[in-house]
Amino acid sequence: MDRRHFIKTTGGLSLTAGSGLLNTCSRLYAFDTSANLSRKEARYYKKHPDREIECLLCPRFCKLGDRERGYCGVRENIDGTYYTFVYGKACAVHLDPIEKKPFFHFLPQSRTLSLATAGCNVNCKFCQNWEISQVRPEQVEHQDFPPHQVVLTAQKYDSPIIAYTYTEPIVFFEYMIDTSIEAQKAGLRNVVVTGGHINPEPLQDLLPAVDAIKIDLKAFSELFYTEYVRGKLQPVLDAIKIIAQSSVWLEIVYLVIPSLNDSPEEIRQMSRWLKQTAGKDVPLHFSRFYPMYLLKNLPPTPTSTLERCHRIAREEGLHYVYIGNIPGHKAENTYCPQCQKLLIQRTGYSIGEKNLEEGRCKYCGQPIPGIWK
């Protein structure tokens, strides 16, 4: 995927070179950028004897000797101290509509300054952004974009929201939380798009600094996580539980991959668990898979499969179930769970009719959960 294609597929309004930022960096770059890596001491790690460390940020708990780097590729033990190399080193910056994350119950149609650094703590075989997520920071073009500048840029481009997205924001935790705190002070909102592979302590510390989190729940089976994600399901479920109990807005995306995570039983179990854990009002998006990265041998998800998933989740009692990546499908819209009338009409990332007033259904007055202003 070249740079133009990446920008096109991400569908966002990219910042121009004149803004002093790079739009993205999907190409592996052959130069010695080590001098431009940050060297900020990481949070959440334990020092062990003989200059060894153990990272406590995510459930991988990487144990590393001197000069070794974690699985995510962005943190390194240097002489017994653990450093992040990506603090303030953005490799992708765009202005996107919030619907693209997707958040459907969070400030609809808002412009979102979206950013990422290199790196990820899993390796999904179907990753859409593998050219920046599955590389080390020195292998990708990046530029200095410190927290205060992120905030100034969001303000300059009339973006009320900053999104930490594209790769895996957990691996740039220190950068994300510092930026979020600065953004909050400036009256901006912060949203996080993540796989949810994070330990409880850092997650609890992050929650007060952010407004919404979207979790990519990639399946409802440990086997799938081992095989296709190279991670674990349980910590993701634990993270969802913690977020659901907080005041942070939560939405869930489930990418439906033909034959791998689309069985009616799995979808039913997942929907049931989600309703019990996060309540019937948590938005659940079933998203269409396209062949990608290391999973090119499967077809795109048939619309009928997505519709079946949608039906099952609704049968299990979830109120707001969506179908994504099929522009124009009526399950992109929000309907009132009380009177069934159309509340928000969507086509792709754009919004048509809107029948919400003060967070309530215009027709029957039913409160619709979300952050609407």
Binding site: R27, L28, Y29, A30, F31, D32, T33, S34, D50, R51, E52, K63, G65, D66, R67, E68, R69, G70, Y71, C72, G73, N123, K125, Q134, V135, R136, E138, Q139, R230, Y293, L294
Partner: protein
């Protein structure tokens, strides 16, 4: 000659050359002795033919040869620069062209830190990393089973034959790191392949065409062996062992290195790698794939001393 996959019935030969006294005072090594160790190693590899004939039997005179070193551990625990250069010079005596020999690793910075002087002067032995301008990684992924990686263009394009000139050491996750794991430095995402004791990742990677079709020889630098708490340097568990291990069978070379590490561990009263749940099972996976011999029963070890 392409090594390719081995005949199922073939026995593999591994040559272990001891160079007693190769370490001379103040951290220096006896260069003459090193050359003799190379000569003897090559001689034994091919049933006593002359070292130059052995070189000719492995490489044609126009071959572009990569000497893949391992410099991740810094100056104290990387493939010794003197050894790499001596080997490259010695290969030129066997008829290979200096400008066709490239000592390389992942990055210029790591090579420099390990004591290498970088050069790309035409006609000279080349020394640089994948991040040199003009090198870099392939855009396309090479995919094989558990592996999906971009190869260093040095491995995929610049060279036609490869020597894994690795340092032999204990590895906290893989069990041991030696000639096969050294090729993790030829791809862009090795950090993704350390789960499950690097098994089957190391074997799957070795099976990809850029390695399988080019790898011709493993030489393990065992002058100093980190036998515990690797891959970082810890003086307490580092032994001056003064050996080189040679083999055209990449699995057998590493399997022999593994047994040596186990011996050093046993003498220090340490548990086996299996007891520490980090046996290098990737070697058995590699054997099952036909990449070489891990089972000692099928490895003929020839030891000699200079």
């Amino acid at each position: 000659m392409v090594l390719g996959k081995l005949n199922k019935m073939a026995q593999s030969r591994v040559v272990v050359i001891h160079g007693r006294g190769v370490h001379i005072s103040n951290g220096q090594i006896d260069e003459t002795k090193i050359i003799h160790m190379f000569q003897r190693g090559f001689q034994h590899l091919k049933n006593g033919i002359s070292p130059s004939d052995c070189i000719r039997s492995l490489f044609h005179s126009d071959e572009h040869i990569g000497l893949k070193v391992n410099t991740l551990g810094g100056p104290k625990i990387s493939t010794n620069p003197t050894i790499s250069l001596l080997l490259a010079h010695w290969l030129t005596k066997g008829g290979l062209k200096p400008g066709n020999l490239l000592i390389w690793d992942r990055s210029n910075a790591e090579l420099r830190q390990a004591g290498y002087r970088l050069t790309d002067n035409p006609g000279d032995i080349q020394i640089f990393g994948t991040d040199k301008p003009g090198a870099g990684y392939e855009n396309a992924l090479t995919v094989n089973q558990s592996i999906g990686s971009r190869f260093s263009r040095i491995q995929s394009r610049s060279i036609s034959a490869s020597i894994s000139l690795a340092i032999l050491k204990d590895h906290g996750l893989a069990g041991i790191t030696a000639g096969m794991k050294n090729y993790f430095g030829a791809i862009h995402n090795p950090n993704k392949y350390h789960d499950f004791n690097c098994n089957p990742f190391i074997a799957d990677l070795f099976e990809t065409p850029p390695i399988l079709q080019k790898h011709k020889l493993t030489i393990l630098d065992g002058l100093n062996i980190q036998f515990h708490r690797g891959p970082s340097f810890h003086a307490k568990w580092n032994q001056k062992e003064e050996i080189f291990i040679f083999s055209t069978d990449p699995v057998a070379a590493d399997a022999t290195g593994w047994r040596l590490i186990e011996k050093l561990r046993a003498s220090a009263g340490l548990p086996t790698l299996k007891e520490e749940k980090r046996e290098p099972a990737y070697l058995f996976t590699a054997e099952r794939k036909g990449l070489g011999r891990a089972n000692l029963k099928y490895i003929e070890v020839i030891e000699d001393e200079i």
